[in-house]
Symmetry: C2
Subunit: 428 residues, 2 copies
């Protein structure tokens, strides 16, 4: 059996401790599968004295992750600190320069600086693996990089932030408004320190940008993602959408069109009986489409100690087995710089209008939509005692431009009591 | 860029031609991802003159696959002939002995002779990769072997024969009996030359045995699979199951229990609203469960030119990239010989009885079940004009032994008009 592969692990939060536990519990199994022993030499975290759910006394303690990353007795540096800069980035760069392979779960860092890190990895002849960065335990990086290597990827999409999906499904099941469920989620510890990363769609967009890079052979372009979070999703819309046979999900979609690379993260309606529509709680789902394979759907836990640590172990065993792949699946220099395009692919839309009780109100709305070239597929007007009447419209397929135009014109009709709500309906 | 990887492809049916087409259409993309050109040097099939959907004139033609497999200008032998013996086996063995890596889609061969082939591959220092052997385009071999390498696998299950799933869903949607849909499927070319391979559950069992070996680190044991096909599934049961909220699927399940390795392929009831329950037509679904990752669900096309060729390309690019893994994920000598055990895990069961119109008939049935330790969760007796009354029973969880015992005793009550039907209900 070959020499042991020696790891240095920085960051002993949920995921780091999860990795330590698997390494301790499954040492023999891992050695068998990897073809060599895999050991932890040293660890680093902010507080050595913190009470942890695993015994780390056998490992050298290092205060500074940069020192850990460059130790002579470390072959692979495992970065589980997080953050798109600071010690995470500094220690990864130090590790590469010191000739270490790198494993990270850091989606923000890869989305912001992934291309520069990939170039550095190639210069130094080292690896960066990051299965845990996207969708927790779901093997989406490996599937896209390796299993679909014979395909021109045509579309990548998914629900990739478990916290948002928890909030949306909990709003529906408990009938609670966004603010209440947001507070619940905060108390349960489901939210990042900066909750905007979750509910603002940023974390999920980091993941989408990484998948788009691998799938389409383009430089990772987080700044090219059109992002809208779930903050404006109301319990009203969740209920109305349900009435019409849909559920609302924070859905990311990336595809290459004639106009360029479209990457969008936004609350969308999906058919309630579709796999994405049925996704409950913190579960993630990623849909990959290729010209030969058709559609592949992957579902699993998108976060949590076990699933995320399982993904880190996938990278550890891969490196121990001697597998060496380019960071984004092909040489960094061959990744094209994408032209970012706003979404132009036509779709059906859901519109919720608040209609004043005036004669001809509905006719005026219909006329604005018609003038914008939007035809109506289904419409429902709900009972109203006093005040404005809620009107729901599901359009036939139309362009985002047409919808934007209609939304701009509608208030000028004088029959609309509140800002119209529009949500895209995705066929999945 | 390194030297080209040179393939010899034997078998130019649907999958073989699919591979040729991808290689021709995506040569640059493949070279970029693989880090080197990938080329076809020679091909072999039964009939050189056959009209094919791809131009193969640039490749050397070889009549005998053994000759193809041992050519000096072939680095990797791609076996797409099929069959658990004969030219497929002979040519793969010849390829290994001649120092060639092997890619195959041949589930029957791997299920029957996989261990011996793995030993031969290790002796000769070569690879056998077979992503296309299980569930077409779904990356289940890679996920199990690599992505879940940090997990003790606890259960593997799936719907892995698209033809059976097509027949079952078509029976339901068209309201047709098994025989009629079987004829349809035959005319559509969905059935193997020997249809028993499909409808008898054998093909799906080959796949299950392969997955069990990788997942549990045991020698592949096809003979240890309890197999029941879909031939006895009636349109009646499909309808009744639907009434009770279930759908019938040909489901394979493998798990290690204290009694040994349980591998079972049989028609089962699954909740109609579960991911497995919603699987339509030829789509496959594989569910993998590990102690850290929890449950991973993979869905996609289980057969067809594009999806299966996509899986073969995954292996081709993997070998071109220099990835070298043991056949079943760990050294052949370390694979344990499993003790095969009949399924003993308790489950709920669906029973359909045909009850004679006699006083106390239902009481007699209930008493037999009670004596066998089986408690009833739900029961429905249907209208009957003349003759026996259909009675449906969903039991609480019980053992297969208890059910077998009850089924044996029931006819002795004198109130049963036909052989009882029992189907296991799986929680998925």
């Amino acid at each position: 059996m070959s020499a042991p592969l020696r790891l240095g692990i920085a960051g002993l939060g949920t995921v780091g401790i999860g990795v330590v536990k698997i390494m301790q519990n499954h040492a023999d199994l891992l050695a068998m599968r990897a073809g060599r022993p895999v050991t932890i030499t040293a660890v680093s975290a902010r507080d050595q004295m913190k009470n942890r759910d695993a015994d780390i006394s056998a490992y050298a303690w290092v205060d500074d992750p940069v020192d850990l990353a460059t130790r002579d007795d470390v072959d692979v540096y495992v970065e589980l600190i997080g953050g798109d800069n600071g010690p995470a980035r500094a220690s990864i760069e130090a590790a590469l320069r010191a000739g270490k392979d790198v494993i990270t779960a850091n989606k923000a860092l890869l989305a912001m600086h992934g291309h520069q890190l990939a170039e550095m990895a190639e210069e130094t002849g080292r690896l960066i693996r990051f299965e845990a960065a996207v969708a927790g335990g779901i093997p989406v990086i490996k599937t896209l990089t390796e299993s679909l290597a014979g395909n021109a990827i045509t579309r990548v999409m998914g629900v990739m932030n478990g916290t948002c999906n928890y909030i949306l499904t909990r709003m529906e099941s408990a009938g609670l408004p966004y603010e209440d469920v947001f507070e619940e989620a905060r108390k349960l510890g489901y939210l990042e320190a900066d909750p905007t990363l979750d509910v603002g769609g940023i974390d999920a967009s980091h993941k989408l940008a990484i998948l788009a890079s691998i799938g389409f052979g383009t430089r990772v372009s987080f700044e090219g993602v059109e992002i809208e979070g779930i903050e404006r999703v109301s319990i009203d819309d969740i209920r109305r959408a349900r009435d019409m046979g849909y559920r609302i999900k924070l859905l990311g979609i990336a595809q290459i069109t004639a106009r360029g690379l479209e990457q969008r993260m936004s609350p969308c309606l999906v058919p309630a009986d579709s796999p994405l529509g049925q996704l409950e709680g913190g579960t993630n789902m990623v849909v990959l489409e290729g010209d030969s394979v058709g559609q592949i759907v992957l579902r699993g836990a998108g976060a949590g100690e076990g699933p995320t640590a399982s993904a880190v172990l996938s990278d550890i065993v891969e490196i121990a087995r001697g597998v060496r792949l380019p960071v984004f699946g092909q040489p960094a220099a061959s990744l094209r710089t994408p032209t970012s395009a706003r979404t132009a692919v036509p779709a059906a839309y859901y519109l919720r209008l608040s209609l004043l009780d005036k004669p001809g109100a509905l006719a005026k709305v219909a006329s604005v939509l018609g003038d914008a070239g939007i035809s109506i597929h289904r419409m429902r007007q709900y009972d109203h005692e006093d005040g404005p009447a809620p009107v729901l419209i599901v359009t036939h397929k139309t362009t985002p431009e047409a919808i934007d135009h209609a939304i701009e014109i509608l208030p000028r009709t004088g029959v609309i009591a509140a800002e119209p709500v529009e949500l895209r309906i995705e066929e999945v």
